[in-house]
Symmetry: C2
Subunit: 564 residues, 2 copies
């Protein structure tokens, strides 16, 4: 059957212009023609509307949204996102290949096409006790999956530059299969960057300055302009919307929270922002469609032209990217800003059971968090406002009461508890800057190995909070005086929920409010901060299940300094 | 080993700019870095020079140059052409898969990479008695050859538009193998063009007007701006060098004679001409390098950037594209404008013997060209100056002497003799506009089936000319009063020679001068015209081994009109 969109203005991403043309498409998925067509099985008048190709998010972690792929599709499709390129790095750190199988099958056949990049760095560091290790051999066979486009962000750039065997095997496998290898190398420059690119890394989404981005474009990489919930690079990179640089950029969100998508939008929001900063909407649309497809080698995707996939957005207004309807494969999937119901992919129970069961640890006891005083100076993680960086603070703690915790001075306890392999390893230390006055907070979202992380004002509430998370099979919670004040379950790998974006946003707001009640600063997002205190690639002092890590030296350090 | 090109200015095709940078490359073939490098195993100072990526000719028929691939490489490399995409359509019409095997093996390992597109239309028309028929099944297995990029120019656009089974099978095989399908659809527009593109045709090189080309770009095709020896479209398409259209164009020669390459150059000449017409040399370079690679999906080719193939031209001057040295895969192949000797590929004798033996026909006799007078009006092919089009002229011929030939009125005889399969079929008719006053000319170059074509002032000289060609195993010759005045052998399939460009150019000049001696106009190139009089796709009246063809009606028509 054929369908004709008649009398609209078309955004032509090949010529950067608007054309008054009719679009004929087949309901089997392809654009059949663009011109003066006037007959079809179904004719839809789109007078006064703008038609543009659907958007592609070139780099996103589905797990960061906490949503199942179909729930994510429900909120992204009205934003014009018809495809995402997802790196299931988080869930693979928890569940290994089961995580990959889960994301692949739970996104199968969605109206928002979910392309997958194979996680390149599981575990992320040698300090990570993750739930799985993915070797080159593990990944290799997945390249033949039709939705697998390549190897995901290669964060281990020292491994690339120093020809680490395992890293190079992963890269070479992807290259042999003619696949893309995404980059992740913030601030890498000059000869080191050249070596990284020579290895076969095609792009980067970590650029924060014009200078950094332009060097990459000069050297042939694609630059993914990232504007996520936390990491926001659009303003710093806005000059890339000018010629000729714009020709080598695409738009990505990386990590995006459901509340943010509901409130502000997705890729559409990045284009809107660029327009508000004086740039051309058509340039943004081109980045988000044709160029994203080109970066990933997707043929016949990203334009309104004969032979292209009939993924078309119907806009009420170009500059505000006011999306009224969305066609995917020639069929309406969003009508009048509302998603049309679609079939939810089926995930086989043998995969699902492993995704739902990811806590392999003993119940926590108050004593687990007890620290014996060594009567010397102690290393304390000090958080820095608005950053994921942390300082190493050296101070003498008062062990006369509350096992070194000093609420007055905002020195609280932090613990990271291994939950994947029954090692029951725990790293316990101190953190300054969170602001809790009572109780404890805990979470199973803790990059990148997603062990159980707890921050508290006393050992007892910490144990209760940790056990509450374990009982839910993952999530966030707030405990005070032995009672759970609020909790939000993330039972899928401890990272995701089956709830809708709206439901989970509300629950998240509730948990955050409870955390504020027990003293967390309004300035900081304690759960987000907490999620990065275990990531031993961000300087300077972090904590994993193995203890404190001096990130700069890349070594485990003791909590207490030795007596000199 | 590493090699450093130091102190040059680099043409950056990602940013359309010149950068003062050093280029480090490996002699194994890759660019390792672009920046402030200053050490390497070998350092070459390129102060005051411009470095740009090597050029790619996106569409060429090697057979039209008459040269072996290695001889073609010798003349193209100094012009900066480091790769060609060849359609061996002509030789496959003569030799079938042997022709393909010959071109593949005779171009293996050349410093000028010879990519191959599989001929899509052998034979070209139903009126062609060619030496072979290439079916989809014949072509299929060649897609796995590393230098085969796809299916060559799909000239049979009616077949595409009408879903001809065999045509669609060829197209679908190419698509399944993720290969490119080149287009050839002059003047196709609107809905018919849409259908052609929807089938999967990615480009066209037959555009002669801005309007025609821009429609294709709007619809997502690449436009190959062709400037060959005969078909010259650059001037008509010069506005495509402006943004944004230039981003979707590449440069090709299609058919180029060796004398023209020696005198004027190759792809470099197209850029030079564009500059003389006021356009940017960098735009031309970008079309001829990065964009040609993008059109064909060639990764890491066409730019001076880390990880790209080290195919670099060292220019004395940008705007005249004055090429001093050429590096291919990091090694010098042209030094100071002179090609460095390279190894000539070996062709196995069992392939070669079939290429050398392509005349399967009886000797010609004077009587073979005798036409019996039917005493009615006769159809005569009338050539049109400067065009390959021909008119149908209806006139009563005088059969009282010379069997209808009338030298005064410039009505000569033309014959096309089947030479592939011993059918001894002959089409004999009359032609006006060649101008011979005595003798005959003959050639085995006759598109697309390359049967033996002869034009003469008398039957005897025609037979002698034809037999001379047969004796050489192909070529061109001029006969007068029973003597061969000049001849040029093309013993490889009747199309090509093992001689150098210079030698064959001199021979060709000699043959042409002889043709002029017996009366051919200085205004026309009789052998070139003759080569197209058998091509039943160019209106209006043509002749094949089966007789006269009314191209517009696509049917065989009798020489004499029936009495009414």
């Amino acid at each position: 059957m054929t369908r004709l969109l008649k009398n609209g203005m078309i955004v032509n991403v090949f010529t950067n212009s608007l054309e008054k043309k009719n679009v004929l498409m087949s309901t089997e998925g392809m654009i059949l023609g663009v011109g003066n067509y006037d007959t079809a099985d179904e004719i839809i008048d789109v007078s006064n509307k703008i038609l543009c190709p659907g958007f592609i998010d070139g780099h996103i972690h589905i797990e960061s949204t906490t949503l199942m792929p179909h729930e994510l599709a429900k909120v992204c499709l009205p934003c014009g996102t018809v495809a995402i390129v997802a790196d299931p790095h988080e869930i693979c750190n928890v569940c290994g290949l089961d995580g990959l199988a889960f994301i692949l099958s739970s996104s199968e056949g969605l109206p928002m096409t979910t392309y997958i990049m194979l996680p390149s760095c599981v575990p992320a560091t040698k300090f990570d006790e993750s739930g799985a290790k993915l070797t080159a051999k593990d990944l290799k066979y997945f390249y033949s999956h039709s939705r697998v486009l390549g190897l995901a962000e290669m964060m281990n750039y020292p491994g690339v530059i120093n020809d680490d065997l395992e890293v190079m095997e992963k890269i070479n496998d992807a290259k042999k299969m003619n696949k893309i290898i995404n980059g992740h190398a913030p601030l890498l420059t000059g000869e080191a960057l050249d070596k990284y690119i020579v290895a076969g890394i095609t792009d980067d989404h970590e650029c924060s300055s014009e200078l950094e981005a332009k060097e990459r474009i000069q050297k042939g990489q694609w630059v993914m302009i990232r504007e996520g919930t936390s990491a926001r690079n659009l303003e710093g990179l806005i000059s890339l919307f000018d010629e000729p640089y714009c020709q080598r950029c695409l738009l990505v969100t990386d990590d995006k929270h459901p509340h943010d998508i509901l409130m502000n939008g997705h890729i559409d929001n990045i284009i809107r922002k660029a327009v508000s900063l004086g740039k051309s909407a058509i340039t943004g649309i081109r980045m988000a469609s044709l160029q994203a497809a080109q970066c990933f080698g997707l043929k016949n995707v990203g334009a309104i032209a004969p032979g292209y996939k009939a993924n078309i957005l119907v806009l009420n207004d170009l500059n505000t990217i006011d999306i009224n309807d969305v066609y995917v494969n020639g069929n309406l999937v969003v009508e009048n800003k509302r998603v049309i119901d679609f079939e939810i992919p089926n995930v086989r129970p043998e995969i699902l059971k492993n995704i739902y069961r990811t806590f392999y640890m003993d119940d926590l006891k108050e004593d687990d968090f007890y620290i014996e005083d060594k009567h010397t100076d102690c290393r304390v993680i000090e958080i820095i406002k608005d950053q994921l960086l942390s300082n190493e603070l050296i101070c003498r703690l008062n062990f006369n009461k509350n096992n070194g915790i000093d609420i007055e001075k905002d020195i609280l306890k932090i613990a990271v508890c291994e939950r994947h392999l029954y090692t029951n390893h725990k790293g316990v230390g101190y953190i300054k800057g969170i602001g809790l006055k009572s109780g404890a907070i805990a979470s199973s979202v803790s990059h990148d190995s997603h062990n159980l992380v707890i921050i508290g004002t006393n050992n007892k509430d910490m144990a209760i909070a940790g056990n509450a998370i374990k009982k839910m099979g993952g999530g966030l919670c707030v405990v005070e005086n032995g009672d759970v004040l609020a909790q939000m379950a993330l039972p899928l790998a401890g990272l995701m929920t089956t709830k809708s974006a709206k439901e989970i946003s509300n629950e998240n707001e509730n948990v955050r409010n409870s955390a504020r009640k027990i003293g967390s600063n309004y300035d900081i997002e304690p759960f987000m901060l907490m999620a990065f205190m275990g990531l031993a690639v961000i300087p300077h002092l972090k904590i994993t299940t193995l203890g404190l890590v001096d990130v700069d030296k890349q070594e485990i350090v003791p909590l207490f300094l030795e007596n000199k």
